[in-house]
Symmetry: D2
Subunit: 266 residues, 4 copies
């Protein structure tokens, strides 16, 4: 077994009393960059423009929490009920972001890129969208990034598209996803149920337009979901008896009533 040569990292350099993240002093970043902007810098290597930073913060907010029924939340709560440390609940919740739960982001990014390949080969936006959807129909699959158990119109996807437009960040992946949305809608009889673009699809298209690698598209979702996993694990420990059997259906919401953000926030 020979000794490996030295290896390299380009993320963070550490010296006594000095921490540089992608070259920027970490303490200087604090208070001047939002966490979303700082995370973008670390993952992508360069500071985001103000519009990009705002978009990335919005993506992180979009999947903050989705209630008690997702498998990730249930995995986190089942670990919490055993008295394990909170970080163990978080790790179990992260493990539950499998291909069917969050992993759709990567699948949708690849799906969109295959459509862009069709366009490079001469198909129009609409043709590429229809080719993709016809392929999904032939494979008897729902296109990645479409459909939701509960929502017929996913409010998070709509808001991401609106922001991409307003911030002038809409790119070819978002435009193709919107075209696929049209094509899916025109064939809803074949799918047998409405298939709205979901938040995974919208995150996929926007992060692809921002140039994220496939696996980083999923990673963004992990960051976004962490506060939710933490909040559920903490609530489980604070409000419920230990070692209970957690039924995902027999619960009620007893939190704050619907309210609006104050004007200064808008």
């Amino acid at each position: 077994m020979t000794r490996d040569a030295r290896w390299q990292t380009a993320l963070t350099s550490i010296a006594p009393n000095k921490i540089l993240v992608r070259g920027y002093p970490l303490d200087e970043m604090m208070g001047r960059l939002t966490f979303g902007e700082a995370a973008y810098l670390l993952l992508m290597g360069e500071l985001p423009s103000p519009a990009l930073g705002k978009m990335f913060d919005a993506i992180l907010v979009s999947s903050l929490d989705h209630g008690v029924t997702p498998p990730s939340t249930l995995a986190a709560r089942n670990v919490a009920t055993t008295g394990a440390p909170l970080k163990d609940s978080v790790a179990a919740g992260v493990l539950a972001f499998g291909p069917h739960h969050g992993g759709d982001i990567e699948s949708c990014m690849r799906y969109l890129d295959s459509g862009l390949g069709l366009m490079r080969s001469g198909q129009s936006l609409q043709q590429a969208a229809e080719t993709l959807v016809d392929g999904s129909i032939r494979a008897n699959e729902v296109p990645p990034g479409f459909g939701h158990r509960i929502h017929s119109r996913d409010p998070r996807a709509a808001r991401l598209f609106q922001m991409a437009l307003e911030l002038e960040l809409e790119g070819e992946h978002v435009r193709l996803l919107r075209a696929i949305e049209q094509a899916v809608g025109s064939k809803s009889a074949i799918f047998g149920r409405p298939l709205p673009v979901n938040v995974d699809g919208a995150i996929a298209a926007v992060t692809a337009d921002l140039g994220f690698a496939y696996e980083l598209g999923n990673a963004v979702f992990l960051i976004s979901r962490l506060p939710g996993l933490i909040a559920h694990a903490h609530e489980e420990r604070m409000r419920q008896p230990a070692m209970r059997q957690i039924d995902p259906k027999d619960h009620d919401y007893d939190g704050a009533r619907e309210r609006r953000l104050p004007e200064r926030r808008k």
Copy 2:
């Protein structure tokens, strides 16, 4: 085995096409709250003031990454080198935030609260600080939140204290920690080495002043560290051969050179 009664959650309510986090529509939060502000809302139940939101974003930025040598980074990279999904690297990294690595935040919060108890019983700030430090010396322990392998002055702690002061968020926990810092400094001969306040101590004092539960103090650290775990796992997969033996010492930094934030960011 009897059927449990219904159970309650106060975090998020889900209805068709409507997601309310602590009562606020999630899509309305997107683009109007930073991720830090949204995470604060979810964890604490109410919107932060602008100053609080800025402080919380800075806390999240403070522990974004600390290079390749922490055990959490090494756990994540060792999983990444086996070709496992990125989320598995993240989960393994989260598991490495044990009592000696991040867990110091909770210990320091408890330490400070025991000092505040002394003050409620009549001791002055300085007396309480000295009582705590004398207790640590008798127990032959470093006070939680003090000391660093590399830094003699932790730039992240200094920045958090400065921001707390400027944003008028400095409370009794921060003041007590500063007094303990003085007491530790005056006894550095006993400890045998300089023991600066570290970033864990500063996060502990600030989040305690903000009213966070002990285990949420640690949880904040988990959120903060996630982009770093992701970036290292991703870099491992992109730049290194699979199944290598990862030596934490034989590495070099080959990233961006030291640079300053642009003026508009300040």
Copy 3:
């Protein structure tokens, strides 16, 4: 940061074409030691006697599976339903062995050792048992290793005690646990419900008699439960639709009917 000195391991030595576990050639162990005996060797450093090996295999069998309702099984199934790799289900299940679920073994080992301390100080077996139980009553706690949600007499505990007796491996920890059982039984009016010795208590007493470290007592439980976590994760993927909401109560057993081991196995 100075380079650490070389470090040592006493478990396994690897050389080309030769693997020695605690000094024994691994290939020579195959077919000659059961997995239980081999695991005992690795954990404890020496080969078990035939009686010890049989006892250890029985301990491993005792917690093989406990159906679909334990939080560890539910954590594993919730990860499985997302399409994640099987190992991710296993990891999540392992994380659910918190202080209230498996961790009782370590608590019971410590409880028994504190009782043995009383005996060293002059108390009789019965006196030590009663002192321990009175302490639990004063602390308003169930003694660790006692009580079960479903069983009023845990058949696994009974079998472990019987085997310890027959194999002449019953030691002071088992004897003390039996005395505590008597003391608890005589005070069942105070506890308000029957509190049988459970399998965790029996494993604790037997492994303590065998000389296991506290944390290895819990570790034995992890090995024992692994096939169950695997079997449930695999069944979830084979028999259930993806992304279902797993209700721990609404299930039926449709497997093999009750049957007996063939005579040659007895």
Copy 4:
């Protein structure tokens, strides 16, 4: 969201004071089945024959531990050094069994099954083996189940083949793997280095002959490796300072010297 219908499990039935695993009383299994036999029953649904049980125990012993350098061991030790609970080290180690580390078992099972498909279509054993190896060469890949960083002849693989022969359990997967071994050997000039059958390949062939599902082939490896992960995490905590930087290369073995099993074990 409609309520799901009731769901089924065929593994274990639980009733007060009665636990049936695949129909057999768990307490009756204790002391009468080895852990390997009991695990086989749970995973496969029926009791193994004595020969099968012995083979399965040997498979479990084969991967008990492989020293400090595998990524799984390093992930477990890096979590242990932070003071996290032992189960967290185990979970992190399990997560490191990615496609390049243990996952080779599943790849090799699929590889062998594609070869058996060729034989069903008329190719001889030797032809099928050569077709497979030629395919690997064209894809510029090492055949799954072949090659080892350290061993030029993997003693565990040799022992598994010998036992399969002696116990009359050698089936078509093992025979095909041996034929592939010949084909690989005859083309070692093309591969540029010796590529012995490794323990993953041998486990793959034997478990495939026993009828295991692909993902259960990997799962067997998880069970086998658990005592090793536990032993390393425990040793790390007992013998090393907390928060050390773990270098996989700078270690020495200071355990028992080479020794032989006593005669009665043979």
